[in-house]
């Protein structure tokens, strides 16, 4: 059983999706139960996989027993195991949240198709992570994206459908560019297996086809991960998607695209190619730095809380890319830790926004006055999540900031440290604004100034149900737990980074 774990982690959610559809017309539909159980099982399996990888090295699983490079190979190593745990965790926690929220936002009649797609999306994401085959990666990329396009369109606002259409067009362009890259590598080497490619490529590094294919991979996946300037589709899609889907899109989908990019860069093309043959360092430095600043700057102008969080993702992707540009271990550790940190924090922030929408339907930031007194738990969660995003010490956000800054100094790129800090400051400004409104501005009707004792306590607490409050709270607690017990993510990330960079 345990030896089939790498395939089970993918198959379980995909099968769940079919089972949900099969049960559609029956009396006992259990669509939410099946989804949650499937994602939870995947999470447990991924934990076990990570444990095995950590103790006894990478797991290679041959699909159908076909030996690579002819057959498809699934690889769980210290990098994919780590990302798998993060993504399965977030998708599981989010599916817990989905129970109540989806019924309200999608309508009773559409819950079945919603959860079927949700499971499919999850399965596609897990597939991207575990696969060791370039073409298989494309297929999973499209499975998850197609499910994602459809799910964005479920959003309550009419505009969500348009967002979904634009997302589809751009996403497909990105995937097609990736596919051309796969084709070019195949022409040159006759193999699609990542490990095999990494053996065959060094001999033909200087070939223009190989270099062009690299560029196609990077551009294609940059579109998928919404790296500036390919971010145009993201704010609409992430901002207008249903409450349950926004966290998955922002915390899993674009992170997994970033994962795929790092895979292609370091496992297929080796660090020697990325840092010596092509000017990737310079491009990533520029791309990441500009994404951080512009993303954070654009976030400032937003008046809608979900749109603000969506724009913030554009900036956060910049952090991950920036860490790659230093070409050193520390910077890469920063990127890898940031994948974890951003995933759990952004998911929790989006989930809190989801509870807000569930309870009040409000998304405009200016109308959130006094929410801290109405929904204290949710807003406390939001505040801690925001502090994590800013990178306050003792949260995971600080670790990645620390590692990125040290990586920059190690690489002699001291001028990037102010950029990182400026971005953190901009984060502080836009989150600070929300926190101030939520906690300390009161509704106009109540008036200002000194109040009779106990008056504030009269504002009735109107908290969202527990199944909506708990999921984001768990994620935020994890950010604190792993911000203090930082050696856990850091050790894992260091292992992954050493493996990617081919260091002993």
């Amino acid at each position: 059983m345990a030896e089939h774990f790498p395939i089970l982690v993918v198959i379980i959610p995909i099968m769940a999706s079919f089972i949900i559809l099969l049960l559609w017309r029956t009396k006992h539909r259990y669509e939410w139960h099946i989804t949650t159980a499937a994602t939870f099982l995947s999470f447990l399996i991924s934990l076990s996989l990570l444990n095995t990888v950590f103790l006894s090295g990478p797991i290679r699983y041959w699909l159908g027993g076909w030996e690579p490079p002819w057959g498809i190979e699934y690889v769980v190593d210290s990098f994919s195991g780590y990302v798998l745990v993060v993504v399965t965790l977030v998708s599981f926690v989010t599916s817990v949240f989905a129970a109540k929220s989806v019924k309200k936002e999608a309508g009773e009649g559409r819950t079945v198709s919603f959860f079927a797609l949700y499971s499919l999306l999850a399965g596609g994401l897990y597939g991207i992570i575990v696969t060791g085959d370039l073409f298989n990666l494309y297929v999973f990329l499209e499975i998850s994206s197609l499910a994602g396009y459809a799910l964005v369109g479920v959003g309550k606002k009419k505009r969500a459908i348009v967002a979904s259409y634009n997302y589809l067009i751009l996403g497909t362009i990105g995937a097609t560019l990736y596919l051309i890259g796969v084709g070019q590598l195949y022409i040159m080497t006759g193999t699609l297996n990542m490990a095999d490619l990494s053996q065959k490529l060094p001999a033909i590094f200087e070939s223009k086809v190989i270099i062009a294919a690299f560029a196609l991979f990077i551009v294609g996946l940059s579109i998928k991960m919404a790296l500036f300037p390919f971010h145009a589709w993201l704010p609409d899609a992430h901002g207008l998607a249903p409450s349950v889907i926004s966290p998955i899109l922002s915390a899993c989908v674009i992170e997994v695209a970033a994962y795929a990019m790092m895979r292609v860069m370091f496992t297929v093309y080796t660090p020697a190619f990325v840092f010596k043959v092509v000017p990737a360092k310079e491009v990533f430095l520029l791309g990441g730095g500009v994404a951080m600043l512009v993303g954070s700057y654009l976030t400032l102008a937003q008046t809608d809380i979900k749109r603000m969080l969506a724009y913030s993702s554009v900036g956060q992707m910049g952090y991950i890319i920036l860490g790659l540009s230093f070409a050193n271990h520390t910077g890469l550790v920063g990127s890898i830790v940031h994948i974890f940190s951003h995933a759990i924090l952004k998911a929790s922030l989006f989930l809190v926004a989801g509870s807000l929408i569930y309870k009040t339907g409000i998304t405009e930031i200016s109308r959130l006055k006094g929410m801290g007194k109405k929904m204290p738990l949710s807003m406390a969660t939001f505040t801690i999540g925001a502090l994590g995003m800013i990178g306050i010490p003792l949260t995971t956000g600080f670790i990645s900031e620390w590692k990125l800054a040290l990586g920059a100094l190690e690489a002699g790129k001291w001028f990037i440290v102010p950029v990182i800090l400026l971005s953190a400051l901009l984060n502080a400004v836009y989150f600070g604004r929300v926190i101030e409104i939520v906690w300390f501005k009161t509704d106009e009707e109540e008036g200002h100034g000194h109040k009779e004792i106990g008056k504030h306590e009269k504002t009735s607490i109107d908290e969202a149900p527990l199944s909506l409050v708990l999921p984001p709270f768990i994620l935020v607690s994890l950010s604190i737990i792993f911000g203090i017990g930082a050696f856990i993510p850091v050790t894992l990330a260091e292992k992954a980074a050493s493996m990617l960079l081919g260091m002993p």
């Binding site: 300390f440 501005k441 200002h448 850091v490």
Partner: protein, 492 residues
């Protein structure tokens, strides 16, 4: 110096944290129970801190390694003489302020008192953490906790002015910390490969003078809580907070955590040898002198009593930095002693300002004519506190200023000496007219039935006024700790 492991610093830190759930549970419905927990916590915390006094005075350093975030980043605590010095001041004044808070908050029927007491406890946790931190990262963490936990206190009134003031407060403190302090720590770590404080400094011989200077400037600019110009304007802005908050946090915990951090960095990161070699100490001294004089002049122009006190604080904080930056034994001694002397003097003045507000509902000095006849105890305590700040004997303030004067002579810095004397004169110029006007001015008729505030308010301020006098005659506990610190730094 002997190093011992003990859990005592952790216990002291945990006390306010443990108290929080009790305070929250008692809540608004049972204010007496809630305040009981606050006071109990403050007393226990002080006792634990004080229990370390004999050992530290005996030359021991109490250490406790809490955990390693990841290799290179440790959460370590070390109670040396200097840390205990600040810890004692902060935890002792928390007790007194707790009593005062009860009187003040109830007199005004303030809202959200539970939040107030909880945040107060967290900020004490932060201040004590700064005092006991053993490395730069630990001190940074507690520094940020202090910033964030005091933000709800500053914004307490929730009026538009309070929101504006608190926004400035947070912007300056968090902003400077992220923009300057953090890169300074990054650079320090890259250069020195460690962040642990050491008596000899950790940067000596590791980098070029230019690099040292850059890190130094980043640190001084980054520790915004020390209110050095031009990053001082958060302190007047924070005066929108209720008076007890201004008193404890903005005369003691927050600002002293700031100067404490500066002194830590100057003494234990750079080391006095390195600084005097490059001449950065003198540069800092002149920088601090500038703040002292300019802030004093600005204080003269303020009509709002709390604002005048705030500017006076800005100027007095720089005395401490000045003392340290003289890099002479006596100067450092004066700087360190000024932490406690100014704390007791200034907290008295703030308490009085709050008491005046309760008794006569006046905030502006020009409206305070003759109130001394109605509230003599408060105004007399104000007089005593003012004398201590100015540096008259027999008050604690005299001792620290005396050492500062000796230090400037020892360092051959006559201009600095002139600054200290001029500023003392200015201190008198902005404090004594208040007292004169209160006792000899014409009383506003509307205030005929004014009377002293409740004894919850008056007793604490009389107490702190008396203590600042006692400190002149009996400064031993603090004096010894300061002497130990200086001895450790100068090595003899």
């Amino acid at each position: 110096m002997e190093t011992v492991k003990s859990i005592a610093p952790i216990c002291a830190l945990l006390v306010p944290l443990i108290a929080i759930p009790f305070i929250a549970l008692a809540g608004q419905r049972r204010p007496n129970v809630r305040e009981f927990w606050t006071i109990l916590a403050s007393v226990i915390m002080f006792l634990i801190v004080a229990s370390m006094l004999p050992r530290v005075q005996g030359g021991e350093v109490i250490e406790y390694q809490l955990l390693t975030l990841f290799p290179g980043l440790d959460l370590n605590f070390r109670v040396d003489a200097f840390g205990l010095f600040f810890g004692l001041v902060a935890s002792f004044l928390w007790i007194i302020t707790s009593f005062y808070s009860i009187g003040y908050m109830r007199s005004f029927n303030e809202h959200a008192q539970t939040r107030y007491y909880i945040c107060f406890a967290i900020s004490l946790f932060g201040a004590l953490g700064v005092a006991f931190a053993a490395n730069l990262i630990t001190i940074l963490i507690f520094y940020e906790i202090l910033t964030l936990s005091t933000y709800p206190l500053v914004i307490h009134e929730e009026t538009p002015e309070a929101i504006k003031g608190a926004r400035r407060y947070l912007t300056y403190l968090l902003g400077t910390s992220i923009a300057f302090n953090l890169p300074a720590i990054f650079l320090t770590y890259t250069v020195a490969q460690t962040l642990e404080f050491s008596n000899a400094g950790i940067l000596a011989g590791k980098a070029s003078p230019l690099m040292i200077a850059v890190i130094f400037i980043l640190f001084i600019a980054g520790i915004g809580k020390s209110a050095m110009m031009p990053f001082h304007s958060w302190l007047p802005a924070a005066m929108v907070a209720p008076t007890p908050v201004s008193a404890l946090l903005h005369a003691v915990a927050v600002v002293k955590a700031g100067v404490f951090t500066v002194l830590r960095v100057v003494f234990h990161v750079f080391g006095i040898d390195l600084l005097s070699e490059i001449g950065l100490g003198t540069a800092l001294a002149y920088f601090a002198s500038f703040t002292i004089i300019v802030a004093s002049i600005m204080a003269l122009k303020q009509d709002n009593l709390k604002l005048r006190l705030a500017y006076s604080t800005v100027s007095q904080l720089s005395y401490i930095v000045l003392g340290a930056s003289l890099l002479s034994g006596k100067g450092m001694m004066g700087g360190i002693l000024h932490i406690v002397m100014h704390a007791f003097g200034k907290i008295t003045l703030f308490f009085c300002a709050g008491s005046i507000l309760i008794a006569v509902k006046r905030k502006n000095i020009s409206e305070m004519s003759g109130i001394g006849k109605k509230i003599p105890i408060t105004m007399f305590a104000f007089f005593l506190g003012a004398l201590s700040i100015i540096g008259f004997p027999p008050f604690g303030g005299f001792l620290s200023k005396w050492y500062l004067v000796l230090g400037s002579l020892e360092a051959n810095q006559i201009p600095i000496l002139i600054v200290i004397l001029t500023s003392s004169f200015l201190n008198g110029a902005y404090f004594l007219p208040i007292v004169y006007r209160a006792f000899f001015g014409e009383l506003d008729e509307k205030l005929n039935d004014a009377h002293e505030a409740s004894s919850w308010v008056v007793v604490p301020l009389v107490l702190t006024a008396l203590i600042s006098m006692v400190l002149f005659f009996y400064p031993q506990p603090f004096w010894r700790l300061a002497a130990l610190t200086v001895k450790g730094l100068t090595g003899g």
